[in-house]
């Protein structure tokens, strides 16, 4: 556990150095995660995704991006051992590889706060799939098959707003907080809710439209879902359906930051794919 905490501190320092080198406002807090630590957690992962988005935005804006090698010496200085000469009388860390379970389909477990994604589809760990019962067939109600596997990934946004909070004149809305909002029953319950309520629009299956819609929404301090908006559009009818279902979501357990309930903005990718 101590090693995991040390790893966490080192990785946090690397993130801080990247942010500093690129003039990215980066406010992080002391880790309060209890229990066995593997060196990373959803909060840490969210910080990495945030930095990636900020760096991408800088690059697109024509600004210089400094990442390569800026923390090259940090790992060695942190006393993790040299690449060729571990200190004497120390146990080598080339230890047994933990068995990896064979899984056919990656799945997201835990609550919404565990859900982290990126814009790069190839790096996303899970996808919400919706397909009509009879793909590309005329007629039918377009309802997703209950037996189909559905996996959800959400994304913590922060693209073109100040890093961790934006002030809309009334309430502060965060993009990352210490305790992210939780859907009642966790991710599996969220999956089921979407599955039970999402409808592939009638008549659209003939067009075989498939792809990803991203919906941004805010979970306020009461846990209510507010202001769902399309962040990435696919088709007006599918966008409308995604907005409709997000609007049906029950209250979350609100996020918390610095010991207080907080408004938090979340993103939920929904993939419409024909099978």
């Amino acid at each position: 556990m101590a090693r995991g905490k040390q790893t966490c501190r080192i990785l946090k320092e690397i993130r801080r150095q990247i942010a500093e080198a690129n003039d990215i406002v980066f406010a992080t807090s002391e880790c309060r995660y209890k229990g066995d630590c593997l060196g990373t957690c959803p909060k840490c992962e969210a910080e990495v995704r945030y930095l990636e988005r900020q760096l991408r935005a800088r690059s697109l804006a024509g600004k210089a991006v400094a990442v390569a090698g800026i923390s090259a010496g940090l790992v060695l200085m942190a006393g993790c051992g040299g690449s060729s000469a571990p200190p004497p009388d120390k146990e080598l860390q080339g230890d047994t590889v933990a068995l990896q379970e064979k899984v056919e389909v990656p799945s997201v477990s835990g609550d919404v706060s565990d859900i982290v994604g990126t814009e790069d589809e190839s790096a996303v760990e899970g996808m919400l799939l919706v397909a009509p019962r009879k793909p590309c067939a005329a007629g039918g109600d377009g309802r997703a098959d209950d037996s189909e596997v559905m996996r959800t990934v959400g994304e913590v946004p922060g693209y073109d707003v100040p890093p961790y909070e934006v002030t809309d004149g009334s309430d502060t809305i965060y993009s990352v907080v210490e305790e992210m909002p939780e859907f009642p029953g966790g991710s599996e319950a969220l999956h089921k809710f979407i599955l039970d309520n999402l409808r592939y629009p009638e008549g659209l299956a003939e067009n075989c439209i498939q792809g990803r819609v991203i919906v941004d929404f805010c979970v306020d301090t009461h846990g209510r879902v507010r202001d769902p908006k399309i962040k990435r559009s696919l088709h007006p009818a599918l966008d409308k359906e995604a907005i409709r279902v997000v609007g049906l979501l029950p209250d979350f357990k609100p996020g918390r930051h610095n010991g207080r309930k907080a408004n938090v903005r979340l993103s939920l990718p929904i993939i419409f794919r024909l099978e």
Partner: protein, 234 residues
């Protein structure tokens, strides 16, 4: 006979594990260890015995799938000159997979391999241009000791060491020379080091296997209890 998942034309290979956030233990910087299933050796105190046998229950990956999974740490790799370390098992059994992976990740990531080098020379030749660091577990340079511990001859190892020197890559190698209780001693390890220095290698990692006796009178040790205690020198 070695059970190998063949990597051809993007076909899947079995991995016994993928471990993120390794800090200077498998190469410089932050690395992810990707361990293949399959090995030509049968070392008496294998550190990862799950890499042997049929490989049932392990997940299979194409190079694209592995790249997608490891990309999550791209920022750390770039910032620390880290990357992916292939181990196992024996990664040199999958030269095409690793070459395809290099095409996906490009030159920015470091690719290291932890290997016994006990594979056909053509496979090592394929890997030389795409691998940044070879971390070679030599066991012992003495053929008799090597055979006794691993169950295999070390002719291929010696040939591949010369191959690497011939390619001018000896400076990119870290040779691990273990002290294996019951199989070799300090004099043997010193002899191994001298032989390697004569070949042109200069970076060594000397360490000692610390084996817990659990034989219950059978004379066999529990491989899962094998540990490493480094008394390093370079």
């Amino acid at each position: 006979m070695v059970s190998v998942s063949v990597s051809m034309n993007g076909q899947k290979v079995k991995m016994i594990g993928i471990i993120r956030h390794r800090l200077s233990t498998d190469g410089d910087g932050v690395t992810t260890l990707a361990a293949f299933h399959g090995c030509p050796l049968r070392c008496r105190h294998c550190l990862n015995p799950q890499s042997l046998g049929g490989g049932d229950g392990f997940r299979e990956y194409t190079p694209d799938e592995l790249y997608a999974e490891t990309s999550i740490d791209n920022l750390y790799f770039l910032a620390t000159h880290g990357g992916v370390t292939f181990g196992g098992g024996e990664p040199c059994l999958y030269p095409k997979f690793i070459c395809d992976f290099r095409k996906l990740c490009g030159p920015a990531w470091r690719i290291n391999i932890e290997t016994s080098l006990n594979v056909p020379g053509e496979w090592v030749k394929t890997l030389i241009p795409v691998v940044d660091t070879f971390i070679i577990d030599i066991k012992d340079m003495n053929p008799g000791i090597y055979q006794s511990y691993t169950g295999q001859a070390n002719d291929l190892v010696a040939a591949n060491l010369r191959l690497i020197v011939g390619a001018g890559r000896q400076g990119d190698c870290i040779v691990r020379i273990p002290l294996i209780p019951g199989y070799n001693n300090d004099a043997d390890r010193a002899a191994s080091r001298s032989a390697l220095e004569e070949l042109g290698f200069s970076r060594f990692d000397l360490f000692t296997y610390k084996i817990k006796s659990n034989d219950h009178g059978t004379g066999k040790t529990n491989m899962q209890d094998t540990e490493r205690d480094s008394s390093a020198d370079s």
